[in-house]
Symmetry: D3
Subunit: 227 residues, 6 copies
């Protein structure tokens, strides 16, 4: 059960080597390597073009209009972490800005994923602090109500456990459970190794119909060509 | 009636000269030249800044979560075509990525319009393959169910027949029926020829109230000036 | 009561010095200086990256699908003004494009805020005419029905009186009542003066928990640390 | 090409016997009988519980904020028709109320499908005049701009030609092309004839897994049962 | 400027006779009588079928996730009042339930308009306490942050001053400024007096085209009839 | 990690006595008893007025446009269970209708919660089979791709583990983890026991300001009364 008022200090982060390996792949590749699961909803967008990140999740459960837990979370961040913030209800308030980003960055955090709003986005871009959010809004927040840090949270439709690997780029945000990080990284690598060859064939004009031998199954399924 | 499992091979494309002429005008101008009809909904956005295209439609009807018909459509694409993909139900899945784009480009396609999602958008930008879509999402799709190619489709609220001209830029996407392409191109040209003159007058401080002789009709309509 | 068919010619604009001072601050800072009120909804976005503006409001109430009042408003614009357009019903039509922008610019206007759609956005970017809108759409409009100019309007959830100061940047749009412009500018300045010091502390690794002395109130609120 | 300012007087309505036969089936059944195509989007809802209709389409293309064409359409309505109204842009204005419903009913119309808003819904329910709409809104409209009557329109994502059969109930709205009405009615009848038998089996506790012989294909697809 | 932390005790309520007169008309009629302004957005829906109300506004500005001001407002409610609640940011939380409704009812309030969420809707229906809201959600709120009572608020896109008349029914919610209540009530009465006659004509089969003499203006506008 | 192609047969259902006790309380009360967590998003609505349910979750992960797993799940349903269906991507297709409901009911299921669409809603109401869904849509689905049954799923923003208690009524849907069912039921009971007393006080005209002793904290927070 989701509990409020809790900060878990010791979390098991995904293995650093697996994180490093996963960081080489795009979100689409990682998501395919997981069997097409683990994505957040498409409302989660980078706040500036070119933002991307890969790291281990420190999770934050916020209350609407309140960013108190952001400060509590800062202390739990370690180099290589990514803050992942959910909220107990839908909100687009600007829970996060350049001052908190300065603090998170000083702790070694690699960015923020937030199912909510963010502000000071020009400054965040200048700082090179990547954020993926569902809204940009100047609306400020208060510090009055307890949420939690490092409990499992649902963020933009995806379950995130503290220590999971988060990969985010222009295509979206994907969550890799810590225990599967190595296996997924290997699967992503294997998948990507085939891409160059396929691309070369497509460039040469080979059709997917032939490359993937689809003509027969399409005919069996009943596809009819007419003039 | 929309039929599934059909691929029409021979379609009548709009005249190449009309397409070339239409390619010189922006979407807003073409839409006005058509009498303010033919636009797709404003949710259709370019996936990178500066994307624009003009070409003849090869239409694709997809099933949710399934991009099989993209491969079937590739074979029907000819140089100068634009793929226009609709779906039998609302979906934001990533039906299209850089591999398919490589294949479409090799066929001579000028871009994609999709009432759905797309992924690998950084690669698509690097390739210079323009896509207009309602979502960016890494979510992958399967190849299991038949849709159709080159039947009339409704894409983002607009009816598209195979062979119609598609013009797309930052302002949106407009569909010009093949049979009207010449007439619309001429009307767009005429419309644009007046713009320079109007712009010069506006720059010189002339008001639209005077340029368009609106003062009298406004007074008749009952407009009152108060202090 | 909102009255249609009215143009108010003499409006009391916020003091020029206060406007100039407010122009130095970002939207988030101004909104905080007002006590966290005055923001438009987050659907209001700049049509190009880097757009920002600060000026005094000339308000426009449009009818759906009709931009006649834009031309009426042009005559009321003075150097330093910002056009603020609302609509009597939700609409994403392209009420505004490069020709009107040329006219508004010739009048000295600093930009447009519109709870509706806009088009010709590439040209507007080239002109350096900032617009904040909820949609980009090529859809053209007619000139047939009276709205009003310089009456109080509700634009994207915020009340705007003619003469109020509008500040807009990447974080959104905020409305400062004319009578409060000086006080808000002073409060913004005071607020910003503390930011540099805070940022330096955060950069040095000081936690918000300590800087804002949150540990005790968090404990009182019941926050529990677990391992 | 969609043309404005046109009223087509003579349209070919679907055969009355086919319409009568289709009226016996629900929307879900008709849509399945068509091969799972022809539905409007799920935003189209009955304005009162229990509303349902079946009839031949008289199509209307409206302009935003303007219901002039409703009156033009009234004259084209014949007993057994259903008015189907689209708009050149998204709008939720109340284009239709109890007075127009009185007029439509006097002409023998069976109801209205509108990709827009409607008002006076309590009166419409009392009159027993079924309407399927995407919004209920008191917002009134003007009579100033031409649209068209009895041209092909896209309504809530579906193409509707004048004379097509419209079936609508609590599950949504489906469009049956006039030329296919008999075939679809027959297919719907066949489909429904199997339903009773299936229902009896399900009631008796037979599983779909067994009834549809799914166990083997599921195993082939790789489904694994764990404890 | 919107000020937080303020409760205005003495407000000027619209004249009781005007309120009583307005209560006889539907929202659509009142809105037309005002010149087609004053409506809230169509997302505002009655929480149970048949809910309707008319009374004078006591306004409430809430903070997200916080309903403290509801209790402050209760004391300001007088018999015949309608509570009108806005929020400083978009929220669908359940700010209001059956206990508060019991308190409001005991004060003589006639209902609630809330640009937010509400809960205990079955109980509210049993109590006969009408609520118009944009969401139904069980999500509870806290009591920690000050908003205001009886300041001007923007609720669902409409400006509401304390003391204004609120009329709400199945068609939506309309705001009549206190000073205009008599004039609007008179205009509504006049408007309604014509309705019966019109309805009779429509029932008799007279077309709007003839009743409103539209044939000539339609022809002038260029309407063409084709066969 | 979410795994596809898995059916877990043995799940630990919440204790029957706790389920029975929870069934006596409304969703708002249960959610408060849990500390204001556990709710699904407000888009989840009953498909007919008065629908309510309480039971133990059998979870289903669907693929877009595909309801194969519904049949697989039917076999896992036991008397007292509630089917809870999520989808790997956003979809409003009609995954469920009266035939599946007949099957589920024959298995003893108490209803369905689905983050998707449903159809045959009139029949479902007649059967008394409660469904909470985000859409009603006639759109049919295929049976081609594996999902899973009885794995943890995220449904409308809430994490649901197989065996958890689901309580749903007009106010929404709440998830009670199986291990906490007794404690939450007790807390709900305690909470409700105070309600009658409070209601009586409110009915007698006592203000929340006095009943909850809010006057002092409000004054401390800075609330000012003006005339």
């Amino acid at each position: 059960m989701t509990q409020l008022g809790i900060v878990k200090r010791n979390i098991v982060r995904a293995d650093a080597a697996a994180v490093e390996k996963l960081s080489r792949f795009g979100v689409a590749t990682v998501h395919e390597a997981m069997g097409r699961v683990g994505l957040m909803k498409p409302c989660m967008r980078p706040i500036y073009r070119g933002a991307r990140l890969c790291g281990t999740a420190v999770t934050i459960l916020l209350q609407p209009g309140d960013n108190w837990m952001m400060h509590v979370a800062a202390e739990q961040l370690q180099p290589g972490d990514v803050a992942v913030a959910a909220c107990t209800t839908d909100s687009t308030d600007g829970f996060f800005g350049d001052l908190l980003a300065t603090s998170f960055k000083a702790r070694g955090a690699r960015g923020l994923i937030i199912d909510g709003g963010v502000r000071d986005v020009d400054e965040l871009e200048k700082m090179g602090f990547p954020v993926f959010a569902k809204a940009i809004h100047a609306k400020g927040t208060i510090k009055a109500t307890l949420g939690s840090v490092n409990i499992p949270v649902v963020c933009a439709g995806a379950l995130v456990n503290p220590g999971d690997v988060i990969v985010a780029d222009t295509d979206g945000v994907v969550v890799v459970p810590a225990a599967m990080a190595h296996a997924v990284a290997d699967a992503a690598e294997k998948r990507e190794s085939f891409e160059g060859e396929k691309r070369a064939k497509f460039e040469a004009g080979v059709l997917g119909l032939d490359m993937y031998q689809m003509r027969e199954p399409l005919e069996k399924a009943g596809l009819r060509y007419i003039d």
